[in-house]
Structures are given as C-alpha cells and as structure tokens.
Symmetry: C2
Subunit: 260 residues, 2 copies
DNA sequence: CCAAAAGTGTTGGAATTACACCCATGG
DNA sequence: CCATGGGTGTAATTCCAACACTTTTGG
C-alpha cells in the first residue's frame, strides 16, 4: 500500500482481496525508560489517534493478518501476539458507516457508491503484542500520517472504541501475567534484574518487593544469570540475565501460577 | 423462525436483517448428576452435532445476540454469558462457502444465486454460558432437528471447528475460575456442599480436599448456610447453602484470587 | 570520598496441606 | 443395625512478606 493509486484501488476494490466488515486492531505495547508505552497512529483523513489496524485477506488467518499488519507498521516479525477480544458492541460500531461518512473521509477526489465494501457495520478483533521498544521503527506512508509511543497513563481520547480496546488489552495482560511468563518480547535479549522488575511493576501497576520478586522467577527456572555486567554511569554495574528459553517456553505452554 | 416460509425468507433475504459472515456460537454448559454437560444441537441439513448458534442483527450487540440465541434455544433469559474467543482461522473457516456447498445444504427446493448473503468466509464469536441444567427445555423446530446434553468427556466429532471451540471455552472457564466465582448459574438456588465441591472438581479436572475446599468459599464470604437439609435416601441429609449474592457480585466485579 | 544504585538472608506469621473419626439417615 | 455418604478440627509444613545493611562504581 504505497502509492495514491494503490489507496484508491483499495478503497474502491479492496473487497476483492479483503474480508469486508472486519478489521484487526493491535495494541502494541513497548517498554522503555521504565515506562510502558503503546504505539498509536494517526491516519490521513482521521481526526485523532488510534490503534494500528488493518483488514484480513480472504485466505489469511487472523493471526497471520495481525502479524502482517504489525510487520508493516513496526518492521518486527514473529512477535508474541495474542487475541484478546472481539469488539462490535460499542455505539460507534453498531452505527453503520454510511456513504456520506465514508465520502467525508476519502475527500472529494473519489466518489463512493452505495455498494462500496467499506460501508456498513465494522467489527474488530483485538490482538495485543509486546515488543522491544528499541527494535521498532515505524514507517509513515500515504495512509499513516504520524505515529507516536504514548505513556499508557497519559492516553488521549482515541478514535472510536479504541480506548476500550486498550483497557481490555491491559486487563487481559494483567490476568495473563499470573499464568504465563511475560518479558521475552518486551525486553532486550540481555537485561538486568531492575529492568524486569520495573517491567512487572509497570504492567501490574503495583510495587513488588525487590528481593522477593527475582526469587519467584528463579524458582521457576526462568532466568539464567550471565557473567556480564552493564555499566550504568557512576553506580554499581548490574548483572545481566537472559531468559531460559526451554523453561520459558514450557511455562508459556503449560501455564504457571504466580502470586505477586 | 417458525414456518418453512420464514426459513426460506431467512436463507434468501436474511442479509437485510442480519450481519453477513458473522455468527455467534455458544458453548452452553450445564451440570447434572455430577457431570459437566454441554448442550449440542443437530440441525436439519447438517450431518452432525454442533454448538447452538445464530446470526447477529444489524443493530444488536454481540452480547444481546448471544442472549437472544440462548433464550430461543433453552428458554432461559439473563444468563451469565461470556465472550471467550473469535474463531476464523481453522481450515474450514478459511475455505469460503460456495454456491454449490450452500445449495447442497438447502436442498433442491430453493435456488441459491451467487449474491446470496450466506456465501463466503464465515467467522464466529464464541460465548460460553453456565446454566442450571434443570431449567433448560430445548425447543426443536424446523431448524433444530434434535438436541442433547453430552458429557464433555465423551463428545463426538463436531461440525466444523466446534471441537476447538469447546476446548477453548473450557480452557477459559478453568482460568476464570481462579479469578471469579462460578456456580450461581450452574447450580440450583439451594445446593449442598458436595454438589458445589464436585462441580469445581469437574471444572478443574482435579480433586480438591473435601475439608479445605469449603473453607475457601467461606473465607470469601460467598456462601450462606441455610437451616435446611436435603433428604437423599438412606444417608445423612446434607445441609443446604445459597450464594451470598452481594459478596458473589462483588467478587465477580472485583475479581478474586483462588488457589486450589 | 561521596552519591546513587545493586546485591543479598533471615525471621515471624499466615496460609495451605494433610489427615481420620464420628454422625445421621432410610431401608 | 448396617451401609453409605456427610460433617468436622488440628498439627505440621510450606510459603510469603517484611525488612536493612554492605558493595560497587564513576566522578
């Protein structure tokens, strides 16, 4: 989706390639400077910020679509991606998109006819992703006017029902945190104990004991201690750790019970 | 949906009233004779058993649709209903329904044209419900040829991806059990400790200590002891309990942490 | 040598588990 | 009176939470 012609073709004939009335929207969480952030985009023709999203190709799985959309936006492939909810109930989504609505969005250069595939009620399936902030480089293009990482404490009013989506995604992540390990996709390969500690605190929104917290991860065999330190200015250099991939994978599949 | 004419109208013109390409399917669990059961239906024109489902009206929420479909099938209203997943990835769902497929299903009396609203890829949103087995009376009609409660241990091969749906629903319920109370909709208003005990064991698929189990429910204030017993043949009559509605509701909303 | 952050062990209390005997009932 | 299932308390253990001082580093 690069040139203006491509976009015109998408608006008029996208229905030949994509499923109509269904989008995937992704809450992409990244972690940086001890802050949990979420990636929002601003599209040309839209008035505010929203979650990055896209349509599902007719032969594609939801999962593949979510991965493709994410790769298009962030450049990262093979992410931890999880479906968290299907959205269709908000007043915005129950009101059908009319010819006039759509015409207003696309501007006067295109004429929308009443059989356009984008008309009607749109539902959305939400996926969340946890990414290493530093690996992401967002591409702006003819669709995406701007993008930005936002503190989740400090979100603006988002388009449509996207605030609901963010809240539901966070709620799901917090619950999942008690049954699955999280972090392998939010942190760099090698990280320090304070880093993962603050990550968990940020996700759960509460403070965790500095001495007890690592014990739980160790007792589950999730961490390997490395023989390296990271210099961090005029302070004691913290040790580096990595996830024990085998145990991490096992914990993902079989589930764990964490009490924090 | 009662007469043959209604059904013909539904097949030909349902798209005017319902959202195309989207169904709601419900995993309706009931509990009886110390067995967790699931309600399956067999539709006219289909070869096997599947979950009861239906379409969403254009102005209806998913939630309302799930409730309406459930009420139509079981006669129960105002149920505990929970969305658990959106299904669209299985090979069956990615293969589009063709004119020939649909024609075969509806039989030779109707002619399916290539603009029929039922053609194409169908996705489904799964809801689960927990119901009191005894309150349910299923109606057969021109669509539903037969219905039956099945032991979940003993399910047949279901239509399409419905086995996946049942498994995902069970998995979700088991996880939810640790964070929300369950039972008010599966048990009669008054029940005995052994009944709720075996219910939890059945849902979790593991045995729970007969003396420790009730203590947890009591410590959360979920149960009121009644001054009644239930005669059960030549044995000691077990006491009856009811849920403490206020605490139950609070636990539902705020969440709990159960370790079992 | 100083400021800032990392690292590390122990203890008291709470929560969880494990376990066995008596009671009530209807036939 | 007997077979069956219901009811109940305690002790041992494990798990969890709370807590403060020492070490390292660069400036």
């Amino acid at each position: 989706m690069k040139t203006a012609d491509d976009i015109i073709d998408f608006i008029l004939h996208g229905g030949e390639q994509y499923l109509p009335h269904l989008t995937i929207d992704s809450a992409i969480f990244g972690y940086h400077a001890q802050q949990l952030k979420i990636l929002l985009v601003k599209l040309h023709g839209e008035d505010g910020w929203g979650l990055p999203g896209g349509f599902v190709k007719k032969q594609e799985t939801f999962r593949e679509a979510a991965g493709r959309i994410l790769a298009e936006r962030t450049g990262i492939e093979n992410l931890f991606l999880q479906q968290f909810y299907a959205f269709g109930d908000s007043p915005y989504r129950r009101r059908e998109q009319t010819v006039a609505d759509l015409q207003k969005k696309v501007g006067p250069w295109l004429t929308i006819t009443d059989d356009n595939w984008l008309l009607g009620r749109q539902i959305s399936i939400g996926y969340y992703a946890l990414v290493d902030f530093e690996q992401v480089s967002v591409q702006t293009d003819l669709l995406v006017e701007d993008y930005r990482w936002w503190d989740i404490q400090d979100l603006p009013h988002l388009l449509y029902d996207h605030n609901d989506m963010v809240n539901k995604a966070l709620e799901t992540i917090r619950l999942q945190l008690y049954h699955q390990p999280i972090g392998a996709n939010l942190l760099p390969d090698k990280f320090t104990l304070p880093e993962i500690h603050i990550l968990y605190e940020t996700l759960l929104g509460k403070s965790l004991d500095r001495r007890n917290f690592p014990r739980k991860l160790f007792s589950l065999g999730l961490l390997n201690k490395l023989d390296q330190q990271r210099p961090i200015g005029p302070h004691r250099a913290p040790n580096l750790y990595e996830f024990n991939k085998a145990n991490y994978q096992k914990a993902l599949e079989e589930g764990i019970v964490l009490v924090m």
